[in-house]
């Protein structure tokens, strides 16, 4: 392990901005994509439920 303290770890030998900028954006992108794709599925599911509900209502 190359780190003596948390501050040393956060500083990344003076390159903290570049290293953490890379990891943070990657984490945000992956998390956001997961949230968006799950929402897309939920919306499609709800739309289908409404569609089926409407067609059953009109046929009876």
């Amino acid at each position: 392990m190359s780190w003596g303290s948390f501050n040393e770890f956060a500083a990344m030998g003076g390159y903290g901005l570049y290293v953490w900028g890379s990891y943070a954006v990657t984490a945000i992108v992956l998390a956001a994509e997961l949230v968006l794709v799950r929402r897309r599925k939920r919306v499609a599911h709800q739309h289908l439920l409404r569609l089926r509900g409407a067609s059953i209502g009109s046929s009876e």
């Binding site: 030998g13 994509e33 599925k41 289908l48």
Partner: protein, 257 residues
């Protein structure tokens, strides 16, 4: 009663042994993707935690670059995924073009946004790595330019899909675009050999022994596996959304919802 067996969701061919064509239809793949996605997500988290641990607490400081080299642990796996996902996407698109299977086009469409995101991550992390090591955020070098073209190919695929109302026609047009664009993949991969680039050569070669520390290599492989599992999980959830969107009028979907 001559009822088609597929309506019951249990094709009779299944009785004669595993029939892989069975999984090529949206109604059998829909529940399968739903069951598998969480397991791939769990695998992505496990590989991710292990990879990050190796990246920050096991891999040594680079003698030339210092700590900034640690960007490599996401930069290289993201770049691998950006190219790999494009090839897989083009494979599914081509399969759909050749065999007119509905699910193939849906799989290609499900992979495109994830591929585009990994291309963006590769470019973004490359830029943040380039500034302190090369002194510039961006340079019109062959490797960087061809990777940017890959991002535009993904954008073109997504825009074309969105522009054509009939999904089956959109699939065919997108398949053609995806297949033509495959020519860019070897250009990206070999760009560092074919041209004199500022970008360094391949980090991992199939023909030479790894020149980097073994722990660095292991960290990269673990995060590549994590990205791979993540891509499968997200693509499976997205393909389920696409199936729900496109198969609105089919009868089998009523049983699902």
């Amino acid at each position: 009663m001559n009822r088609p067996s597929s309506i019951a969701g249990q094709p009779s061919a299944a009785a004669t042994g595993p029939n892989w064509y069975r999984y090529a239809s949206p109604q059998t793949f829909f529940p399968l993707a739903g069951k598998l996605a969480p397991w791939f997500a769990v695998a992505a988290v496990l590989f991710g935690v292990a990879g990050l641990y190796v990246a920050f607490f096991v891999a040594p400081t680079d003698q030339q670059q210092g700590e900034v080299y640690r960007v490599i642990f996401i930069h290289v796996p993201a770049a691998w995924m950006s190219m790999f996902l494009y090839v897989v996407m083009a494979f599914w698109a081509g399969l759909g073009l050749a065999f007119h299977t509905r699910l193939s086009g849906m799989m290609a469409s499900a992979l495109a946004p994830t591929g585009a995101w990994f291309t963006f991550i590769a470019l973004w992390t490359g830029s943040l790595w380039g500034k302190p090591t090369w002194g510039t955020w961006w340079v019109w070098d062959a490797r960087l330019t061809s990777e940017l073209i890959l991002l535009f190919l993904y954008f073109g695929f997504l825009a074309l899909q969105a522009a054509i109302d009939d999904p089956r026609r959109a699939d065919r047009a997108c398949a053609l675009l995806a297949l033509v664009g495959v020519v860019n993949i070897p250009v990206i991969y070999f760009s560092v050999k074919w041209w004199n680039t500022l970008h360094q050569g391949a980090s991992v070669s199939f023909t030479r022994a790894p020149t980097m520390a073994a722990t660095m290599f292991i960290g990269m492989v673990l995060l590549a596996l994590s990205f791979w599992m993540y891509s499968i999980a997200v693509a499976f959830v997205r393909v389920r959304a696409i199936i729900l969107e496109r198969e609105q009028r089919s009868d089998w979907i009523t049983e699902v919802v």
